[in-house]
């Protein structure tokens, strides 16, 4: 019976001019957005690849140089462009693409692409994920708002009920055709977005992520479709069903994200750049070089080095003292950075928690956030990148300081190292958070999606069954 209902729905769609127009509009928008994402991801990945090659080249070809001079010129860590960024850019363009890994300073990521966009549209740029969530869900609403209400208005629900069709089968028949169509679009959009990664090899495609992305869209869009049917079953007329569904859609697409974003920065304001920079300067630099922190920090590091080399005193080792002090400063400053950047990260997390809370009332916002998490274009991926870059910076600077400490002797900053040392510093290789970590991070959003799905099934089936019973009894 369900098959018959689905076949009937598909037949109705094929005869419906409105559906054909919708199909073409969504297809064109999805295609264009996917190609744009394709193009942007390709450009970003190529620029990064070229930058990495160049960074490696200028580093190893810098010639004879003081290790500390080289540490000031330093290296850059470039953020990887995930293959799925083409489908779901998330907050990728609003976060820095590179970290300067210089001596003395932990720098935040810089080079945000959003700064260079035209900014003539009041809302974010087109992406395949956005089109599917915004236009796709609207299309589902248009297709499904009359599902029960119109059958009731025309009286056909009575004859359908008389054939013995259950409420569940009726809802399944109505929803399957529309949601299946939306999912076909999702698959097309994901596949088109992944073309550069597949053919040009700019980044690795992880099949579990692709499957997960399609799966969450399947859950999100099915939940929305079922909710449209539930609203249709709850309303006496198809007009009321459309108005109710449209109100929900607007609240979820515009209202909740806007108010959530505003609330997140009102409750947890962004850190002031100047104040942050001042704190770093005063606590990590001035406190050591001009304050009283230097003595204890140097003494502690001296002891560590002496112990490491089996000596009782640093001076008996004959190592360069200036380099030892430079590294002592790094050890001291790193603790300050861990604290201050930790506070900054806590602010981001707090903002993110507000947005996470908002997903409880908006399955479409939940879908957007999970989608960005799986695509690796979210805050989690950005924080992983900056944390890994900082660990890499510490390794590089420690290596350079150690070389100077062991080999500079009395030459101090006049000591020159060469290519052999530069080649010892590895290139930065970012590792995005694994899928399991993403799932762990977004459990609230996933629970929200599943909760909405269960609620939608229960309400849609329950109210449809009731509507059928009422029609049969009257």
């Amino acid at each position: 019976m369900i098959k018959l209902l689905i076949a009937r729905e598909l037949l109705d769609y094929s005869r419906n001019g409105q559906f054909r127009i919708l199909l073409v509009v969504v297809l064109v928008l999805t295609g264009v957005a996917s190609l744009d994402g394709w193009n942007r991801a390709r450009e970003a990945a190529q620029a990064r690849a070229a930058a990495e090659v160049n960074d490696h080249h200028v580093w190893v070809e810098q010639g004879a140089n003081s290790p500390h001079g080289a540490a000031h010129f330093a290296r850059y860590a470039f953020r990887p462009t995930p293959a799925l960024a083409a489908f779901e850019p998330g907050s990728f363009d609003y976060a820095g693409a590179a970290v300067w890994m210089e001596a003395h300073y932990q720098n935040p990521a810089t080079l945000r692409r959003a700064e260079d966009t035209l900014a003539r549209a009041p809302l974010p740029a087109l992406s395949a994920g956005w089109v599917l969530r915004v236009v796709g869900s609207l299309a589902l609403l248009v297709l499904l708002f009359p599902a029960v209400a119109r059958e009731r208005e025309s009286g056909t629900i009575r004859s359908i009920a008389a054939t013995g069709v259950t409420g569940g089968a009726f809802v399944a028949g109505k929803v399957t055709a529309a949601v299946a169509t939306a999912l076909v679009f999702t698959v097309i959009a994901v596949v088109v977005s992944l073309l550069p990664a597949a053919f040009i090899g700019v980044d690795v495609i992880e099949p579990p992520r692709v499957v997960a992305l399609i799966a969450v869209h399947a859950v999100g869009l099915t939940a929305f479709g079922l909710l449209a049917v539930a609203v249709s079953a709850m309303c006496r007329t198809s007009g009321a069903a459309l108005v109710g569904g449209a109100a929900l859609w607007l609240a979820w697409i515009v209202g909740v994200p806007t108010i959530g974003a505003q609330l997140s920065t009102t409750l947890h304001p962004d850190i002031n750049e100047r104040a942050f920079k001042s704190s770093l300067q005063l606590e990590a630099q001035t406190a050591f070089w001009k304050g009283e922190a230097k003595g204890p920090a140097v003494a502690a590091y001296e002891e560590t080095i002496a112990k490491e080399h089996g000596a009782t005193d640093f001076d008996e080792l004959g190592f360069n003292r200036e380099a030892m002090e430079l590294q002592a400063h790094e050890e001291f400053a790193n603790q300050v950075y861990d604290r201050l950047y930790g506070e900054m990260s806590a602010t981001y997390q707090a903002q993110d928690r507000v947005l996470r809370g908002a997903t409880v009332v908006s399955p479409l916002l939940a879908l957007q956030r999970v989608s960005a998490g799986i695509a690796g274009t979210d805050l989690l991926a950005q924080q992983a990148f900056t944390a890994q870059a900082e660990q890499h910076r510490r390794r590089i600077i420690a290596l350079l300081n150690r070389d100077m400490m062991l080999n500079a002797g009395n030459d101090g900053f006049a000591y020159m190292a060469g290519r052999e040392l530069w080649e010892q510093t590895a290139d930065f290789q970012g590792q995005p958070p694994g899928l399991a970590e993403v799932v762990g991070r977004y459990w609230v959003e996933l629970a929200s999606l599943l909760g909405w799905l269960v609620l939608a099934v229960a309400v849609a089936v329950g109210r449809t069954r009731r509507a059928m019973q009422v029609e049969v009894l009257t």
Binding site: L29, N54, A125, G239, V243, V254, K277
Partner: protein, 470 residues
């Protein structure tokens, strides 16, 4: 008659339309919230700019005092009053009415330190400390409310004004009593659009007056209000047209669908699509590519330092004999690296500017058919915010850096100092606020013309509305 209808609509709104009333209350609350947030943002930025930057090692006045002292004494440290250390603070103040449109402003740099130590590539290397999640999701400001939410509230409140009356049979009764469909639509629009327009405008005026620190912004405020009024009038006309066009449908859902579709297409899709088209056709070089070029140039300069110093000295007629050998070489090494970075990246910057101009030209053309884009641009121009202003600031700072580089270069490479006259001749940086383009007022006129055109269509459509199906 219209007064009676308006009174009826008001009564209905207050007593029988809790959803509509709730929508208006919510909109008002959001407007007030957006206004207060804008004021807080502007004050916080102004306060931050008032404080001395942590990385500004020495004020210009202190540097000048050092120079005077050094030039008048026989002994001095080679590190004192070096030309490279002369630092000018370049501040981009918050836009004259930034409190009305601040949400995208945090992303742009608002300060830079201009000195010989900087190249074009490092001028705006600021700490990007804003959370990317919150930044990517647009928060509230009055411009967003005016451009995105105002039409939505209007459409949701008016789409069924005729179809619902017709559906219930009340339309016939009203027409018998002398009411015309156009008047019914007008009454509903007056009841909804006027309060929403008033709330937005009043909050904008109050916020602008409270946030105003200097005179001369009234013209901008007038433009902001005029653009919003034109845009509001256009949407009011469009709402009337949709209500009249869909009145013949016995199903108010069709009117709702048409209203939502119009909003989605005009507010969401057309501007996003236009921006995408402009950026896709004229892509700008990426920041990563720019950095790559700058790093290459810096590395090259370091390798060829001596040759570059000789060439520079020959070009500027500097005699090596006059150099103070006690001055460390890193001053001139950094200077030479920076000017090489600037000249190496200049073609990329020029290409960027060219592509941005082309993108803007495409957007300007599309704007005529995209009222949301047009209104959004004018409201931003009036408030003195946006990507164009930020780009203008960057351009001015780069020009100023060039002036400073030319002034301190010979003394830096020649390991000498500036004279007092040379130092005094270097101008301080002052951001020249771009004037509001005259096209903005033409844009307002275009919005009003569109509103009149759509209003005429709405009137014609309303005249055709019959109380019953024929």
């Amino acid at each position: 008659m219209i007064a009676v209808l308006v009174r009826q609509e008001c009564t209905r709104l207050l007593r029988r339309s809790p959803a509509r009333l709730a929508l208006l209350v919510l909109y008002t609350a959001l407007a007030v919230w957006a206004g207060i947030d804008g004021l807080h943002w502007k004050r916080a930025l102004a306060q931050a700019q008032h404080d001395r930057p942590a990385d500004l090692r020495q004020e210009r006045s202190a540097w000048m005092a050092d120079l005077e002292r050094v030039l008048s004494s026989e002994t001095s440290s080679p590190f004192e009053a070096r030309p490279m250390n002369l630092t000018l603070l370049a501040v981009l103040p918050p836009g004259p009415l930034a409190e009305l449109s601040h949400q995208r402003e945090s992303i742009h740099p608002h300060t830079a330190l201009i000195s010989g130590w900087q190249s074009d590539a490092s001028l705006f290397r600021r700490y990007e400390v804003e959370g990317s999640s919150a930044l990517s999701m647009r928060g509230l400001d009055l411009t967003y409310l005016a451009v995105v939410l105002f039409p939505l509230v209007l459409l949701l409140s008016t789409f069924d004004v005729l179809s619902a009356e017709r559906h219930t049979g009340r339309l016939r009764l009203l027409m018998v009593q002398g009411a015309r469909p156009a008047l019914l639509v007008l009454a509903r629009l007056v009841t909804i659009a006027v309060p929403v327009w008033l709330v937005t405008s009043a909050v904008a005026v109050v916020v602008a007056l409270v946030g105003q620190e200097a005179d001369g912004n009234l013209g901008r405020l007038a433009l902001w209000l005029a653009a919003f009024t034109g845009y509001a009038a256009l949407w009011a006309a469009a709402a009337g047209w949709i209500a009249a066009r869909c009145a013949r449908s016995s199903d108010p859902a069709m009117a709702a669908m048409a209203a939502v579709t119009a909003w989605v297409v005009v507010v969401l899709l057309v501007p996003s699509f236009a921006q995408f088209a402009a950026e896709a056709v004229y892509p700008t070089p990426s920041r990563v590519a720019y950095l790559t070029q700058a790093r290459q140039a810096e590395a090259q300069s370091r390798r060829e330092l001596e040759q570059r110093a000789e060439v520079y000295m020959a070009e500027h007629d500097i005699h090596a004999g006059s150099a103070d050998q006690a001055v460390p070489g890193f001053f001139r090494a950094s200077y030479l690296a920076n000017i090489n970075i600037n000249s190496s990246t200049a073609p990329l910057v020029a290409r960027f500017e060219e592509q941005r101009a082309a993108q803007a030209a495409v957007a300007d053309r599309i704007e005529l058919a995209a009222p949301t884009m047009l209104a959004y641009r004018i409201l931003q121009d009036a408030a003195g915010v946006g990507a164009e202003r930020a780009a203008d600031y960057r351009r001015q700072v780069r020009e100023h850096l060039k002036v400073l580089h030319e002034a301190v270069g010979p003394a830096t490479v020649g390991r000498s100092r500036l004279t007092l006259d040379q130092a005094r001749a270097i101008p301080d940086f002052r951001f020249v606020e771009p004037a509001v383009p005259s096209s903005a007022w033409w844009g307002v006129a275009w919005l009003l013309a569109l509103a009149v055109g759509v209003g005429a269509m709405a009137r014609r459509a309303a005249r055709r509305v019959a109380p019953l199906d024929s």
